[in-house]
């Protein structure tokens, strides 16, 4: 609820004014203007989602104000930018614009104020000592290492990742029990066949091995079919959520590592279940298996 440290968001009243247009200026109008006169109509960059929703393009003139109801400045859309596929912003449906720093400061009556600035240190200066030196003289602000900021801002994804792992664990347990149950049943259903093989003189080891191989083959085939279903599901999930959130972000991904993990888990469970069920049956006398 509280986002007091978030970057400045302009409480902008934005109004498209069709009929007026400037020449397309591209990104150049947002380039620094040192030693040059600032253009009469300032340029802003808007995100593609905003351009699409408001029917704006480069050259469109819009009104931008710092407070609702105020007259504001006429500005030109100088560039349209695609937002990064950032999971932190995916559920936020706000629009984004980029202005020159001094322009925004003027709009918001913020005299020479910024939320943050980035500092690049020379290659031979340790970041920690630079941070310590800045904080030693800092008054009303603090310096942080970019790595620490990244760790803090990635906390959301680490929570989501832990949640997904937990859900994954529950799903694996459920699948394992299901697989064990099915293999146990499928082996037990063939009590008569196994009894006949034993009566024909086939050794216990041969029967156990054949059942284990069969269970392994079934597990691998099942895993491949499951991976196919998973892959198709991931396509549907991605298509759906990309459209819902209007982002190129991938929500579900079937990687070779995930496929290998699923197949190996299934194989191990299949072999274990097949061996356990087969061992139980071969230890039972053949005539008992036949119900005699």
């Amino acid at each position: 609820m509280t986002r007091w440290f978030s970057p400045l968001v302009v409480g902008a009243a934005l109004l498209a004014m069709p009929g007026h247009s400037l020449e397309a200026q591209g990104d150049s109008s947002l380039a620094p203007t040192y030693g040059r006169r600032a253009p009469a109509v300032r340029g802003i960059a808007i995100d593609a989602r905003m351009a699409e929703d408001f029917g704006l393009a480069t050259g469109s003139i819009v009104t931008l104000s710092g407070k609702p109801g105020e007259r504001g400045d006429s500005v030109a859309v100088a560039a349209v930018f695609e937002r990064k596929a950032d999971p932190a912003e995916v559920a936020r449906r706000e629009y984004r614009i980029r202005t020159h720093l001094d322009h925004l400061q003027t709009l918001l009556d913020l005299d020479d104020r910024v939320d943050r600035f980035a500092v690049g240190v020379a290659d031979n200066v340790p970041v920690d000592s630079a941070v310590a030196r800045i904080n030693h003289v800092a008054f009303g602000f603090r310096a942080h290492r970019s790595a620490d900021v990244a760790v803090q801002s990635s906390r959301t994804f680490r929570v989501v990742e832990r949640f997904h792992r937990a859900i994954g664990l529950i799903t694996v347990v459920a699948s394992a029990v299901f697989l064990l149950c099915l293999l146990l049943l499928s082996v037990e259903e063939r009590r008569r066949d196994i009894a006949a093989l034993r009566l024909m003189g086939i050794s216990q080891g041969t029967i156990v091995r054949s059942i284990v191989i069969e269970a392994a083959v079934v597990s691998v085939i099942g895993s491949i079919i499951g991976a196919g279903i998973g892959w198709i599901s991931s396509l549907i999930v991605n298509a759906h959520f990309q459209q819902v959130y209007r982002t190129p972000l991938l929500f579900a991904l079937l990687t070779p590592e995930i496929f290998a993990f699923a197949t190996l888990t299934s194989l191990a469970l299949g072999i274990a279940a097949g061996a356990a069920a087969a061992w139980r049956l071969v230890r039972t006398p053949p005539l008992t298996l036949l119900g005699r």
Partner: protein
């Protein structure tokens, strides 16, 4: 126990390993289903109860923003609050101004501060000490209510004093305004994350601290409609939207809808996993009962030969599915509550989440409905094998069983 139930129970007991595995499988599926139902309904209910903690059904925020979603504030706050209070359909209005104040010489440099009117505030409940007055004198120490995290991180106790500052000038290394604050009370703040230190001060004094440009500003106001039904609340919301063009009025329902949009991923994940749980439960029971029926063709043929009606066989096989599902669901209920607590603990670590917000909330109606759905699904899973069992050709099955 009736003869039919005894037979069904004996059939399940004949193969303890497979029965235990099936019950375990259904229990895990039931637990997952219960968790997903709790996730899907919990967020909504938890957020609703959070918003209605102190009875305020409406939030008034700067135009185009959600409350505290940006640093924007509302100018002309006094006139807006007065206009709202003059409306007979509104029983209470609580304005709040949020800001960050510097804490010179303390363990952490700044604290999130709420300027509130103590007599109408709906942001915290006092847990220890004294509440703050509506306003303090110009020279006396400012009375403050803080949360437990603030006390822990500063090492202060109730009654201690400290200095807060605003208008920091980094170049001149000065603060434009500062005040001594006395910590009079400890409160539990509803909308602030538990790990965030927070301080509440009288609203007029926070405005004074922030300087002339904030003398008539607020970040948000909460309003309580005289009638609590959704139609009346919506009428008040609509009136605010019409008469106050510089603000956005949001009802609890709208806020819930907007948060649901943002968190729709979790709801849809819950729906997909819940559907998979139902499917797993159905398949387990169907597979087990089908194999069980195939094994007992001779036994069923004997039952039919001695006069058991088709309906009797059908009901007995269905009863097996019901018993399996019932046992699994009973286990799944406990397993689900334990895993829900575990998963809720994980998601509660989300940064910026109010302390009182839960993702998994026990909702008896939704939980019982979902588990009943699994029970019906499990019972119906036995329908096809039950029908096949009841339709067994008696003579042929008896001969096959005798010959082997």
């Amino acid at each position: 126990m009736s003869m039919r139930a005894t037979l069904a129970f004996a059939t399940l007991r004949r193969h303890p390993a497979r029965t235990v595995l099936a019950v375990l499988g259904i229990a895990v599926a039931a637990a997952l289903l219960l968790d997903m139902v709790m996730l899907a309904t919990g967020m909504r209910e938890s957020f609703r109860s959070l918003l209605l903690t102190r009875g305020y059904q409406l939030r008034v925020s700067p135009k185009g923003t959600l409350p505290f979603d940006s640093e924007a504030t509302i100018d002309g706050a006094t006139a807006i609050v007065a206009a709202l209070r003059a409306n007979p359909d509104i029983t209470a209005v609580s304005p709040a101004l949020g800001t960050t104040l510097a804490l010179p010489g303390q363990a952490f440099p700044s604290v999130f501060t709420l300027g509130l009117e103590a007599d109408v505030q709906g942001d915290y409940v006092l847990e220890a000490g004294r509440d703050m007055p509506v306003t303090a004198g110009p020279s006396a120490p400012l009375p403050a209510v803080v949360n437990h995290t603030f006390l822990v991180r500063t090492g202060k106790r109730l009654g201690d004093t400290l200095t807060v500052a605003a208008g920091i000038d980094a170049q001149l290394r000065t603060a434009a305004r500062n005040r001594v604050v006395v910590l009079t009370g400890e409160g539990r703040f509803f909308y602030v994350p538990a790990e965030t230190p927070v301080m509440a001060l009288p609203l007029p004094d926070v405005r004074t601290l922030l300087g002339p440009e904030y003398r008539d500003r607020m970040s948000v106001a909460m309003a309580e409609s005289r009638l609590g039904d959704s139609v009346s609340v919506e009428a008040v919301r609509s009136w605010i939207a019409t008469t106050q063009p510089r603000v956005t009025a949001i009802s609890t329902e709208t806020a819930i809808r907007q948060v649901e949009e943002r968190l729709s991923y979790f709801r849809q994940l819950a729906f997909v996993l819940g559907a998979i749980s139902l499917g797993i439960g159905f398949l387990l029971v169907a597979t087990l009962v089908t194999l069980s029926v195939n094994e007992r063709r001779g036994e069923i043929a004997v039952l039919r030969a001695i006069g058991t009606q088709k309906g009797g066989v059908l009901r007995q096989v269905l009863l097996e599915g019901f018993m399996l599902s019932g046992a699994g669901i009973t286990g799944g209920l406990f397993l689900g509550l334990i895993t829900a607590k575990w998963l809720n603990g994980i998601l509660r670590d989300f940064p910026g989440l109010p302390a009182a917000f839960d993702f998994f909330l026990w909702s008896p109606e939704a939980a019982w409905k979902s588990l009943a759905l699994l029970l019906v699904s499990g019972t119906l899973a036995g329908l096809l094998p039950a029908w096949r069992a009841a339709s067994i050709p008696i003579i042929r099955s008896l001969r096959e069983d005798a010959v082997g």
